[in-house]
């Protein structure tokens, strides 16, 4: 059965995550900086966004951001794995190679979920969470956000040879995904071109789901802009598509033959 190998990949991810404690701490600090600095700063200018206090409006956004960085960076480590012994263990294991992509996506999503859970505790302590929120929707929202962010990461990882140019990935993937979503501002106010891009961005729908969960009960103008059903459909659809595309890319002989030769260092 494939369950145990997938579990193995998840377990390794968690072991590694808790070993890198500084990364975990910085994953908690980054959203708080946004919340306290950007939130407070822009709050004085913006005041309210879609009827919600701006700092409060940012809460789903920074939660989304934590998941985005957590899940996506975890998925991107597959590029490192490609050059290490771990990928060799995976490609010789007795299951079809697309399961490697599935397992890695789930592991990356798990990394995002764990970090989201930790951040929720911090946010609750700081008084940013209303106890009236929809818990089931929040859990589902975190799951879908984590899956789609892992999906973005696995897509990038499948099509990338090295992470030497990590800055480029930051600039051309992570930042656009974050800024061109509804995380920082309602997308309805964006210029048409940017709005169109935001509507194609799966992260927009993921964050919208988090807004439904966290802000939904707070005011009539809930901060969310799209329907829950649409959000679910788009995030789930995107995740499946990302896994399928990444698997196709990974399973193609060209994708892993060079890998073997990189690792053996020759064609003997």
């Amino acid at each position: 059965m494939i369950v145990r190998p997938i579990y193995a990949v998840l377990e390794r991810e968690v072991v590694k995550m808790f070993r890198q404690r500084t990364r975990l701490v910085s994953a908690m600090v980054r959203p708080l900086i946004w919340l306290f600095v950007i939130g407070a700063g822009f709050g004085t200018v913006v005041g309210r966004a879609r009827g919600v206090d701006y700092q409060q409006f940012l809460v789903p956004g920074v939660l989304g951001m934590t998941i985005l960085f957590g899940a996506m960076l975890a998925a991107l480590t597959m590029v490192y794995d490609k050059e290490s012994g771990v990928m060799r263990m995976l490609i010789i294991a007795p299951f079809a190679h697309h399961w490697i992509i599935v397992a890695k996506t789930l592991a990356a999503a798990l990394a995002g979920i764990v970090q989201a859970a930790l951040l929720l505790v911090v946010l609750a302590v700081l008084g940013f969470l209303s106890w009236k929120m929809s818990y089931a929707l929040l859990a589902a929202g975190i799951l879908m956000t984590a899956l789609s962010c892992a999906g973005i990461g696995i897509l990038v990882a499948a099509f990338t040879r090295t992470l030497d140019n990590f800055a480029a990935i930051m600039n051309f993937v992570i930042f656009p995904v974050f800024f061109l979503s509804g995380a920082l501002y309602p997308i309805e106010n964006l210029p048409v071109a940017l709005k169109a891009v935001a509507m194609l961005n799966p992260f927009t729908y993921a964050v919208d789901l988090l807004k439904h969960a966290l802000l939904g009960a707070q005011s009539t103008a809930s901060g969310s802009e799209l329907g829950v059903n649409v959000d679910f459909l788009v995030t789930a659809g995107f995740t499946l598509l990302a896994i399928a595309l990444a698997s196709w890319r990974f399973s193609r002989e060209q994708a892993y033959e060079p890998l073997i030769h990189i690792l053996t260092g020759k064609r003997g």
Partner: protein, 312 residues
């Protein structure tokens, strides 16, 4: 999966016209290979002869361009997952997570083979004990020496009790004591499991204990047999000569000893007669023309040299 030892296979590997082409380069060229179950089989050849590509095809990691290969009863092209279930692989480069401990690595590897945690634990203990690594089970792999890491790589490769173990240059880059240690482990493993082992190496003396060896060159099988048989077929003695005017020496001796093999500053002749008394007088006969003369038993290195000389 239960814990019984695998039943010996009748035929471990059978290839027909196995071919791999990389653009212009023909890495493996219509290879016909037959390895009986339980055998210790050595695939020998110079660098770039196609050994590693062959192992990669047999282990389903590289798709053949043409031909077929049946490994442990399954076709590598049609049922790669079934093949991978039955084989263990130790690559030239280690397949371990350097950041995890020995125990964590084996747990990870075992779970990938769908083994129960208790089974992994038990087998890890047995194997680490055998390989002298048990007191280091909680050390990160990155902190192990090269020899220990290679030993652990082999433990990792057999944790699922494969029927066939592929060892691609298992001792490359190791010093002599560590190479010997690795060979002792492999012998113990074979003795206790009876698994088929397919070895590639270019330390030919390591292939002496193989049941069968095959020499490949430019992706083709050029010679196959038992090490003893192949060495025996070469002759009873090898005469090695060094001298100032080697060409003249060779020309003088070739009518008597057959064609010479030139290897740098040395010329070698084969001598089929067990009686070496004729050779004893050779030094006196040639006198100052030779600076060194050695008569010795042939070995696999000689087979390798003669096989290559015959084809080039």
């Amino acid at each position: 999966m239960n814990d019984t030892r695998p039943v010996a296979l009748e035929s471990a590997v059978r290839t027909k016209g196995l071919t791999k082409r990389y653009g212009e380069l023909l890495a493996v060229d219509g290879l016909e290979l037959e390895i009986a179950g339980g055998q210790f089989f050595g695939l020998l050849g110079p660098n770039g002869s196609g050994k590693t590509t062959t192992i990669h095809m047999l282990s389903t990691l590289v798709r053949p361009s043409a031909g077929s290969a049946i490994v442990a009863g399954h076709d590598v092209g049609k049922a790669p997952v079934s093949v991978r279930k039955e084989i263990g692989l130790v690559f030239q480069e280690s397949a371990l997570d350097r950041t995890l401990t020995i125990a964590q690595n084996l747990r990870f590897a075992g779970l990938l083979y769908d083994l129960e945690p208790a089974v992994i634990e038990k087998r890890s203990n047995e194997l680490l004990e055998l390989f002298g690594l048990n007191d280091k089970r909680n050390r990160p792999v990155g902190s192990l020496s090269g020899g220990m890491r290679r030993a652990l790589d082999i433990v990792r490769g057999v944790i699922h009790h494969p029927r066939i173990l592929f060892l691609d240059e298992p001792t490359i880059g190791l010093d002599l004591p560590n190479r010997r240690r690795i060979w002792r482990f492999i012998e113990q493993l074979r003795a206790s499991t009876g698994m088929t082992v397919l070895l590639t190496t270019h330390y030919l003396e390591e292939a002496d204990s193989c049941d069968q060896v095959a020499f490949i060159r430019a992706g083709k099988l050029v010679e196959q047999g038992t090490p003893k048989g192949l060495v025996g077929a070469l002759g009873r003695h090898v005469i090695e000569l060094e001298g100032r005017d080697l060409d003249a020496l060779v020309a003088a001796l070739e009518p008597r000893f057959g064609q010479a093999l030139r290897d740098g500053d040395t010329a070698m002749f084969r001598h089929g007669d067990e009686d070496a008394s004729a050779l004893a007088t050779l030094q006196a006969e040639l006198g100052e023309k030779v600076s060194a003369l050695r008569v010795r038993r042939p070995n696999l290195n000689d087979v390798f040299l003669w096989v290559n000389a015959a084809r080039s």
